[in-house]
């Protein structure tokens, strides 16, 4: 009994890490129909940035989150405005190609600047945990889940009630009506990418706190975000949370029942089933 409770907790907390990584991915996809193949590498870059901030400014990673967020927000705005916007209207594949190229360039620049060595963000609390009812709640993972919930709420409030948020939502329904409403689509897109880059970076900090990473670590993160986004439903504020929890719990439970070697069979098999049966995600509308 205790085993299963703890496994459940493990799954839920892993869901937090997975979900926070998918927030940005889901937003980009939902609003711009953009699949960002460089997503994971953005997160790894954020993890490296956090290490630098910790080393040179002595700023605690969790306190550095706003700083990292702002840096990525600005960078994301520029990348979208000057790079992705140039091709996003031409063809769906072209944006895929572009982000693939960006992924290549970013990952290899990181090797040049940070070497291929594995790093991890190390703080006194990084490997500690809280104990509750005899169950272990690792601090970083618990905080990540908390962050995910708070960010989901904030994102929802932002999209629902703020002017720029409404502009983003209007654009996600289609660019033609948005243009008729007088919105400057390139700026709305840039804003969306900026926001999601900031969110991706936030996820990157938690990834860096919970895993060892190298410049090549981005790929699996992108795939993970893909899966979570589909499970939760594309472009919904709550999707990443729901998708993350589902995947986290299923992987945890499945890995205990069938053995960890079958985790990928479970993950991707489940993804296939979900896609075929409920292509809009568990939260999305049916059909």
């Amino acid at each position: 009994m205790h085993l299963w409770l703890q496994v459940l907790v493990n799954g839920i907390l892993q869901g937090g890490i997975l979900g926070i990584s998918a927030l940005a991915f889901s937003l980009q996809w939902g609003v711009m129909n953009l699949i960002n193949l460089a997503h994971g590498t953005f997160q790894v870059l954020a993890a490296y940035l956090t290490v630098l901030i910790l080393q040179h400014l002595g700023l605690d990673p969790l306190l550095a989150v706003p700083l990292v967020f702002i840096i990525f927000f600005l960078g994301g705005y520029l990348v979208q405005f000057f790079l992705i916007n140039r091709v996003i209207s031409t063809n769906l594949f072209m944006t895929l190609l572009l982000t693939y190229g960006m992924d290549f360039v970013l990952a290899n620049l990181m090797i040049l600047f940070f070497t291929a060595d594995y790093k991890s963000i190390n703080t006194p609390y990084a490997n500690s945990s809280w104990q509750l009812f005899g169950l272990q709640f690792p601090i970083v993972r618990s905080v990540a889940l908390l962050f995910l919930i708070v960010l989901s709420v904030l994102l929802w409030l932002f999209l629902e009630y703020s002017r720029p948020g409404r502009a983003i939502r209007a654009t996600s329904m289609g660019t033609e009506p948005a243009r008729l409403m007088g919105l400057k689509i390139p700026h709305v897109y840039a804003l969306t990418f900026a926001l999601s880059s900031g969110l991706a970076a936030t996820g990157g900090v938690f990834f860096g706190l919970s895993n060892a990473f190298s410049p090549a670590s981005g790929g699996p993160l992108t795939v993970g975000a893909f899966v979570v986004t589909i499970l939760g439903g594309v472009g919904t504020s709550w999707g990443p949370l729901v998708g993350g929890l589902i995947l986290g719990v299923l992987d945890a439970v499945g890995s205990v029942i069938f053995g960890p070697t079958y985790v990928n069979v479970i993950t991707f098999g489940l993804l296939l089933v979900i896609l075929v049966l409920r292509p809009n995600g568990v939260l999305g509308r049916a059909g």
């Binding site: 085993l3 703890q6 496994v7 493990n10 799954g11 907390l13 892993q14 890490i17 990952a107 290899n108 090797i111 070497t115 291929a116 060595d117 594995y118 790093k119 991890s120 190390n122 990084a126 490997n127 500690s128 945990s129 104990q131 272990q136 690792p138 601090i139 970083v140 993972r141 919970s210 895993n211 060892a212 990473f213 190298s214 410049p215 090549a216 670590s217 699996p220 993970g224 986290g248 992987d251 945890a252 439970v253 890995s255 205990v256 053995g259 960890p260 070697t261 985790v263 990928n264």
Partner: protein, 414 residues
């Protein structure tokens, strides 16, 4: 639908580009001797500088390079009375096995290279060695030792690495002396990890240990908390992890997070690398690593001197302490040098025969014997333990005096 003019232009451009590449490569390789030496012996090495193996690839790269530097500083390799400069031609296989093969082919045909050192990682070695075997030129593995590399009846493939399945023997011997009885094994799903794990589990069972848990996880796993929870229920004395660096770090982090305690923890890959204690800080303390070489070992040879001197030189050259990946790579390069000297010429067939006939050699990393299938035997494998942020040799023999922190303190008592 086709646009002939565009197509023609593109083809023309590609033809020009190809010519450029080929001529470029041509000039790069005809690097004739400039100094007083009799010539240059060029050795090819398709080692990853980018991609997922870039980290270990660099260690191998530096190991080969150190040998190249030292030999050239000593005036070159003395072969049949004449001194030859050595030159290692590195090509980045981008961690992709197919590239390891095609780059080996490239170096063979384009650059006329006839002697080879291997890439890092078993998969890449498999691919690269098939090319060497096809062309009947020797390739020495300085990047991995999966047993299945040597069960293919190849005649031109040699190694400085022991079998992957032998890695854990010393660790288990050490644990045995401490009265460890029950073990949990976790391993990744790649060739090397599976062989190492299988070898370890077999050794454990035949030496009176009780394997209470064993599972395989996919490479690059990012969450193993539930496996640790499961393992905690069986309460084994020790955890043996066989996988990659990031998974070793992950296991330590998560074992602490989950407050799963062991009397001892050992990994095949991880603790020997300097970044392991750097990454984990004091949580790395007391963790054991199955190593193939440490600077403390009492061996020496003519090129590098003692193990200690090798380590100092390495640190001086690259700014970091060497781990066994670099040392094994250096040993592989050294083996190539020995064979060329014994053959009296860099002729690939003669070098191959020389390698096959080297018998037992005494290098800075230990004494070992070249077997008929190209693998080696007899290397006594050390075990390291992280103590005060450094990897300290705690096995074999009298090094066991250095062993401490047994049982490991509970995570929350650190």
């Amino acid at each position: 639908m086709l646009k002939p003019r565009k197509l023609a232009k593109a083809l023309g451009a590609s033809a020009v580009a190809l010519t450029l590449i080929l001529s470029g490569c041509g000039t790069a390789t005809t690097s004739n001797n400039t100094s007083s030496t009799a010539g240059t012996i060029t050795i090819g090495a398709p080692v990853a500088a980018t991609g997922s193996l870039a980290n270990e690839g660099k260690l191998v790269h530096d190991g080969y390079t150190l040998w190249e530097n030292v030999v050239n500083k000593q005036g070159g390799l003395l072969v049949d009375g004449k001194r030859y400069k050595v030159n290692i031609n590195f090509q980045d296989d981008q961690s992709v096995a197919t590239n390891s093969a095609s780059l080996t082919e490239k170096m063979y045909t384009q650059d006329n290279i006839r002697l080879f050192l291997s890439p890092y990682a078993s998969g890449n070695i498999f691919s690269a060695t098939t090319v060497a075997e096809k062309h009947k030129v020797p390739m020495i593995s300085g990047g991995g030792g999966a047993k299945s590399i040597f069960t293919r009846d190849y005649k031109y493939v040699f190694s400085a690495y022991p079998y992957s399945g032998d890695y854990l023997g010393s660790v288990l011997d050490l644990l045995k002396t401490q009265g460890v009885k029950t073990l949990a094994f976790l391993h990744a799903d790649d060739v090397f990890s599976k062989e190492a794990d299988q070898g370890g589990e077999d050794y454990a069972k035949s030496h009176g240990f009780d394997v209470v848990y064993s599972a395989q996880y996919p490479s690059n796993a990012s969450d193993l908390t539930s496996q640790l929870t499961q393992i905690a229920q069986k309460a084994p004395d020790a955890l043996i992890g066989t996988g990659h660096f990031q998974e070793a770090v992950l296991l330590v982090k998560e074992a602490k997070q989950m407050n799963v305690n062991f009397k001892s923890i050992a990994f095949t890959v991880g603790p020997t690398m300097p970044s392991f204690p750097q990454t984990l800080g004091k949580d790395a303390e007391g963790i054991l690593g199955a190593s193939l070489w440490t600077p403390d070992l009492p061996y020496k040879d003519d090129i590098f001197g003692t193990s200690k001197e090798y380590a100092d030189l390495y640190k001086q050259t690259f700014g970091v302490n060497p781990d066994y990946h670099s040392a094994m790579a250096s040993a592989a390069a050294e083996l190539m040098g020995l064979a060329v000297q014994k053959a009296g010429s860099p002729d690939p067939q003669k070098v191959r025969d020389a390698l096959a006939g080297l018998g037992t050699v005494h290098l800075f990393d230990g004494d070992f014997t070249i077997e008929a299938n190209g693998s080696i035997s007899g290397l006594k494998l050390p075990v390291v333990q992280i103590q005060d942020g450094k990897a300290v040799t705690v096995w074999p023999g009298s090094f066991s005096q250095n062993f401490k922190d047994f049982p490991l303190p509970a995570w929350n008592k650190r």
